[in-house]
Amino acid sequence: MRLQVGARTDTGRVRELNEDVYLLRPEQGLFLVCDGMGGCPSGEVASELAARTIFEHMNALPGTAVTAPGDDYLPQSRRLRRAVERSNQYIYERARAEPRHAGMGSTVVSAWINGQLVSVAHVGDSRAYLWHRSHLERLTRDHSLHEAGIRRNVLVRALGREATVDVELREVAVQPGDYVLLCSDGLTNTVPEAAVSSAISRLRDPQRICDYLIDAANQNGGPDNITVVVVEVVGGMWRSMWSHWTRRLSGGDIASAHSAS
């Protein structure tokens, strides 16, 4: 399964710093978005640490360490969860050891794509979506009071704030033509899900989708940092040629058809 990836992060129109971070490892199928906690010192340190340590722990963890049965998730999901848990521990200890970083924290949403199986691990209010045949499904629940119907950005879980963290996992199976989207709340607070879904249907190219969505968030005020990562699950050569031509014939993606020809 080939993956085509687009990504962009933007400070937005109000903030002075960008505390969002994304990490792309397409050859490994690993993607993540971290949103450092605003209003806290060292938010950008926390998100950068989170992204880096999750990636490092993913590669450092021996495969055998996470194959023990015990819960109902796939071994790769448990490995991703373990990496996020260790990252939490690392940030927490750093924050305790260095007073200038006290209280720093970060969200994380990570997707690890193994063939057609996707493991999503998240903490906080950064989100993952699956786009399948013009239908957008949210894969994550925000760990915030917002989820309980309260219109405030109050996180109830974050990386680095406590010695242990409860990482939420989700597993889905994808098909060629599907898209996985990861984003920070700077997108979801400004751009409705219907607009995200139609942008994917219309634009198709992962980088163009990211650019379009970040522009849309900024046009709606851009009150927060915005990060979008879009991963397209590409089928074989014949399938992608087929979808390219059918799209072109239906007139859905004229600009991209021009640039490709």
Binding site: M37, G39, C40, Q116, L117, L155, V156, A173
Partner: protein
């Protein structure tokens, strides 16, 4: 429930108001039998209920509580958890900024939010978290009469890791993947033909009670069990 909700400026409170007019530990509300009792924790600027300064007050429906410049309305009609939501909504400052509510120390609030979420789920008629999907074998040779979809990802195919093992030559390693989400179960087509209620499964499809899945010579009925 024995839960306590604390209000104040410092981060170890259940409800944090980041405002200089609010004391570090300003007030707390605790459940005393049937009622919530609000207590002022010797705050500098006082806790007010319906514009009267109080030290200890049994909350009545529609009481307006003021702490610093923030007000919240106690709503007994909607039960305690709604009151906490209201409290948090009205009281947490820093609009726009993401702030953190310490999960371990605020179990009272979290428990109530979970109750609220569980109630919402039940009201919407969603399968509760205790229900597990099951595939019952209607026709075909299988090694079990039914398969519990306990895992978050279950495979139907020839591979050893499959929950439902397909036997025979030319059967795919993985024909169908069934994943489990908050809203229920979804079948995703992988290889070769599978039918759901007689229709060809080509993409993803959410499974409903009574759906009949035909794959690799087996006929399976999807349902829920405890």
């Amino acid at each position: 429930m024995g839960s306590v909700v604390t209000i104040g400026r410092l981060p170890d409170n259940t409800v944090i108001i980041d405002n200089p007019a609010v004391s570090g530990h300003h007030a707390c509300a605790s459940l005393d039998g049937e009622h919530f009792v609000l207590e002022d924790l010797e705050s500098t600027n006082g806790t007010f209920v319906n514009d009267r300064r109080v030290t200890r007050h049994t909350l009545q429906n529609d009481d307006v509580v003021r702490v610093g410049n923030h007000t919240l309305v106690f709503d007994a009609e909607h039960g305690r958890k709604v009151d906490v939501q209201e409290a948090a909504e009205r009281i947490v400052s820093n609009p726009g900024d993401t702030v953190f509510l310490d999960a371990d120390k605020h179990q009272a609030l979290l428990a109530m939010l979970k109750d609220a979420a569980a109630d919402d789920g039940a009201a919407a008629g969603e399968p509760g978290p205790n229900l597990v999907g099951v595939l019952r074998v209607l026709k075909g040779r299988a090694d079990q009469p039914e398969y519990r979809l306990q895992a978050h990802t279950s495979f139907i195919g020839k591979a050893d890791t499959s929950l439902v093992r397909l036997k025979g030559w030319f059967k795919p390693d993985v024909a169908v993947v069934i994943t489990r989400g908050d809203q229920g179960y979804t079948a995703t087509h992988m290889r070769s033909g599978a039918l759901v209620n007689g229709e060809r499964l080509t993409g993803r499809r959410d499974l409903k009670e009574g759906d009949v899945l035909r794959v690799g010579g087996l006929t399976l009925e999807f349902g829920f069990t405890r």
